[in-house]
């Protein structure tokens, strides 16, 4: 019903302002909360590859993605090929 008195109208206006501010503040907090939830469920650290789904069983050492060692990836380049290119089994054709 349309407010019968200025007081009622002012009360409604206060409620309106309160709700607006409340929703805005909650929204800011919610972005942080949901961002944290998102980070926890699918982190996907860019330096390594995204983690494969790890099972709940203990040390699945072989078949889970064990290469994400604390965020940095080991890459080893071959030593100078002059000595080690024995090519004992060269990549000849033969699919």
């Amino acid at each position: 019903m349309t407010p019968r008195s200025p007081d009622a109208r002012d009360g409604a206006l206060r409620r309106l302002r309160g709700l607006t501010a409340g929703v805005a503040a909650t929204a800011v907090g919610a972005v942080a909360v949901f961002a944290a939830v998102a980070a926890a469920t699918i982190p996907g650290q860019p330096g390594t590859a995204a983690r494969a789904t790890t099972s709940t069983s203990s040390s699945s050492t072989v078949t889970s993605s064990s290469t994400d060692t604390s965020g940095s990836l080991q890459i080893t380049s071959t030593p100078q090929t002059s000595s080690s290119s024995t090519q004992a089994h060269a990549t000849t054709g033969g699919s």
Partner: protein, 388 residues
């Protein structure tokens, strides 16, 4: 001339200027590039080890200037990291290879198909692409591959570009005949393209990228000369972190080998095939003696079953049944028939699928049953003992 020559690949990608200073500018695509690649013996690094020169020739023969190159960086195999690392640290080599392939086979479009989860690699590739002059970038586009195991399969990749869904098929026509947009399509792994770029500059493409995983001290990606033994590759990764029990070669579609038969095995596709396995996408995973093989196998089978494209019964139902039996064995609550079922069903699903997903899973399982026969027997015997 190796892929990881130059600055430490762990520090990221070089600028285009540094790349060209180190390796020279992009060679013009001459008509003798295909013979040069054939002479180098370069084999595809996407898992099939099919001769790259032959593939380029097939597409070029059908091309009429409107072919498509699909640079495959989907890398859906969870254990494999080599393509991501390569795209991240040497994007210009990949782009060189893609440009050369496009020019030589007569393609006016290049699709860089990068796994959507490989965010750093995709960003590095995109940055590198932006650095290239317009003439070299012409027709290039990037497309995120879904994070599914089958997304990197050749026909699935083409189907995804065309229809938006990554469904593989074994039926003709093959991509080199009719692929993206109905045009002859060269689907080539990004490592193969990078190696081709080295060949075009006079290199020999004599190295292989491996992802060494499992019980080693420094798991990661290594570049080794072809023919390096498993032992040497593990040594390059810091050596085994405990007494090893078995080695998985080729990832989830690969094959298990006993340490004794694997250790001195040279890592080149022909030798591995002769030993009953496949080098596949270059994954080398070491299972320690301390681990429980049956549980590991059950986990992988469950993953593979879940990754079925669900477009044919043998795969969707067959792999689920196999995964179920493996799971029960792993939990030491098997049904009496489970061990026999594993042998029978894995033989049955082979060759019966719409694509080779069930074959790969069956091959993985069958090799596991051979290498870990004792552990599986113990797991399966639990029920019989109780019933007696």
């Amino acid at each position: 001339m190796n892929l990881f020559d130059g600055p430490d690949p762990r520090s990221g990608a070089e600028s285009l200027a540094d790349h060209e200073r180190r390796l020279g500018p992009l060679p013009t695509a001459r008509t003798d590039l295909i013979p040069a690649i054939e002479r180098s013996g370069l084999l595809g690094r996407g898992g099939a080890w099919f001769p790259v020169g032959t593939k380029w020739r097939s597409v070029a023969a059908r091309s009429r200037g409107a072919a498509v190159v699909l640079a495959n960086g989907a890398e859906g195999e969870p254990l494999s990291r080599k393509d991501q690392v390569l795209m991240w640290s040497r994007p210009h080599l990949v782009l060189d290879g893609a440009r050369l392939a496009a020019d030589v086979v007569g393609a006016d479009r290049v699709v860089l198909y990068v796994g959507e989860e490989h965010r750093a690699a995709a960003a590095s590739l995109a940055r590198a692409l932006a650095e290239r002059p317009a003439a070299q970038r012409r027709g290039f586009s990037m497309l995120a591959a879904p994070a599914r195991y089958v997304a990197g399969e050749e026909s699935a990749a083409v189907y995804f570009v065309n229809q938006g869904v990554a469904l593989p098929t074994a039926t003709p026509p093959r991509p080199y005949e009719r692929g993206v947009g109905g045009r002859p399509t060269l689907v080539q792994n990004v490592e193969s393209l990078a190696q081709a770029a080295l060949v075009a500059r006079g290199g020999r493409a004599g190295t292989v990228l491996l992802t060494v995983a499992g019980a080693v001290r420094r798991p990661g990606v290594v570049e080794v000369p072809a023919g390096t033994t498993v032992r040497e590759a593990v040594g390059r990764s810091g050596g085994a972190s405990g007494p090893p029990r078995a080695v998985l070669l080729g990832g989830y579609f690969g094959v298990w080998l006993e340490v004794g038969e694997a250790w001195q095995l040279p890592l080149d596709p022909a030798a591995v095939r002769a030993a009953g396995g496949s080098l596949g996408c270059g994954v080398l995973s070491v299972l320690p003696a301390a681990a429980s093989p049956v549980e590991e196998i059950a986990r992988v089978m469950s993953t593979l079953a879940g990754e079925s494209a669900a477009q044919c019964g043998p795969c969707f139902f067959g792999l689920r049944a196999l995964a179920g039996a493996c799971g029960r064995l792993a939990e030491r609550r098997p049904e009496p028939e489970d061990l026999d079922r594993l042998q029978r069903w894995s033989a049955e699903v082979r060759g019966r699928g719409a694509c080779r997903h069930p074959d790969g899973a069956a091959g993985f399982l069958q090799s596991a049953l051979r290498v870990f026969a004792h552990e599986f027997a113990v797991a399966g015997a639990g029920v019989r003992l109780r019933a007696a």
